[in-house]
């Protein structure tokens, strides 16, 4: 039986893992290679490296980070943050990424989804959607959550799928860094609208939040950062908890 995936996200700046609250107030959380190795031992299913600065200088640092992580763990590795072109994606893949995550660039240039899906396969293309609740739905934001894209998350997820995306990484900006739980309603709305896997992100705080997003939210995978970084919650403990709730996990 296909298991629900637990994914650890590392927001990386200048080769170091950092984590903010609601996309701001960054603090340091460690070396990416060391963290990835710890997660691997604990049984993480997948690792995402997000380059949160994405300047030219940080590009080279990012390649070194990807390389360091990919050398240490034999797990699916996704790289995102500032991937704007086929060349950016190729650099990430060449450094050891199995999947690339597109956000702002996918909205600005949706053909990029198709181009990368043709070159690397749909399984290698994740479209990341940052969204906030609104009265009439879920509003998509771009540029690290600073700019309203004037799109609805459900409608955009459908389009991304039709253009060749292999997975959707859906982040609730309202919940990000708050540890108040995933936005299950928004996750379910998107998961019910597409046939590709949906990764829920933003708001993980307690073990019950994961159980909620896998059941009520119909998520295929759940992503968290800070609760794993600071060892508040171990991946192994989380998985045993989910298994006891009859949610299939890899143990």
């Amino acid at each position: 039986m296909l298991t629900k995936r637990i994914i650890a996200c590392m927001d990386v700046r200048d080769g170091q893992v950092v984590k903010g609250v609601q996309f701001q107030q960054l603090r340091h959380a460690g070396d990416p290679g060391e963290l990835a190795q710890r997660y691997n031992v604990e049984g993480i299913d997948e690792v995402v490296v997000l380059d949160i600065t994405a300047t030219l200088e940080s590009r080279q640092a990012l390649a070194r980070t990807i390389n360091a992580v990919a050398r240490q763990i034999f797990l699916p590795l996704t790289v995102g943050g500032g991937i704007r072109s086929e060349e950016d994606a190729a650099a990430a893949v060449d450094a050891g990424a199995d999947k690339v995550s597109l956000n702002t660039a996918a909205l600005r240039d949706p053909d990029l989804i198709t181009t990368l899906a043709r070159r690397y396969g749909s399984q290698a293309v994740i479209v990341a959607i940052d969204a906030k609740r609104r009265d009439d739905g879920f509003a998509v934001y771009v540029r690290s959550g600073t700019s309203d894209a004037a799109r609805d998350a459900v409608e955009w997820a459908r389009e991304a799928e039709s253009r060749g995306a292999g997975e959707i990484l859906l982040t609730s900006m309202d919940r990000d860094g708050t540890r108040s739980g995933f936005d299950c309603e928004m996750t379910a709305a998107v998961a019910n609208a597409v046939n590709i896997p949906v990764i829920a992100s933003g708001g993980a705080g307690g073990l019950d939040h994961f159980a909620d997003v896998f059941t009520r939210g119909h998520a295929d995978a759940a992503l968290a950062a800070s609760i794993f970084h600071y060892a508040d919650t171990s991946v192994a403990e989380l998985k045993r908890y989910l298994r006891d709730k009859n949610i299939p996990v890899r143990l």
Binding site: M1, R5, F74, P76, V93, G96, Q123, A124, I196
Partner: protein
């Protein structure tokens, strides 16, 4: 020395890193004529079956010839699918055809929320026999069964040299929309909405539908098992 065949279907970085970490010696042959010089072959690959069209012709002949002379061959994901006669994903492209059967598209199941592509960690189990496999109806002729097959049906453990040291229920990482049916060459199957061949083995030909290079310790063990096979050759 192992030949890692690069035909442009996806990225080989991960496979290279895994082989390196296990201390394997490998190289990427530049032309088909070099294939005969290697003690084993690995055909990796992700993406559309059409990509294996790059192997049609001299590569297919060289790899087929190496296999006929007993050189171990390990197909990963698309590389495993290529071992069969062909795939519905690109019907015009012939597979290597060393395993009987044809690769077909997986079905999802909306009621059980089983999506296609099949992405994530799923379990390996011993083949359960024809009655359970939804893909059986469309499988090709099965040919003669390998000798160890008889006992595999009676036991609950995983059979096959490629699965040495692994127990049923081991998790591996999949990402695919097409798969081979459960045939006589299947040594481990996996169930999504359909049940399909996750691992095949026939003589010195091995294939896995998942990505051992992305399947943590279980995956490394499988690659190690293949390296062990090649040591005897």
């Amino acid at each position: 020395m192992i030949a890692l065949i690069d035909y442009g279907a996806g990225n080989l970085t991960s496979v290279r890193k895994a082989l390196t970490s296990l201390g394997a010696e490998f190289a990427t042959p530049a032309s088909p004529s070099e294939c005969g010089r290697f003690s084993a072959l690995i055909v990796p690959g992700v993406g559309n079956f059409a990509a294996t069209g790059a192997l049609v012709g001299p590569w297919r002949e060289a790899i087929g010839s190496a296999v006929r002379s007993g050189t171990p061959l390990f197909g990963i994901c698309l590389g495993m699918q290529w071992l069969f006669e062909g795939s519905d994903e690109a019907p015009e492209v012939p597979g290597l055809g060393v395993l009987p059967g044809r690769v077909v598209r997986l079905e999802g199941n909306a009621e059980e929320r089983l999506k296609i592509p099949h992405v994530g960690w799923n379990t390996l189990t011993a083949p359960s026999g024809p009655e359970r496999s939804a893909l059986q109806a469309v499988r090709g002729p099965t040919g003669s069964a390998p000798q160890e097959k008889g006992s595999a049906l009676l036991e609950t453990g995983l059979q096959g040299r490629i699965l040495a040291g692994l127990a049923p229920g081991a998790h591996v990482y999949f990402t695919h929309s097409y798969a081979a049916p459960v045939t006589a060459d299947c040594v481990a199957e996996t169930r999504h909405a359909d049940t399909f061949s996750a691992v095949v083995e026939r003589g010195n030909v091995f294939g896995v539908q998942f990505h051992p290079e992305k399947s943590s310790e279980t995956g490394l063990q499988i690659i190690r098992n293949f390296l062990e096979v090649t040591r005897g050759c």
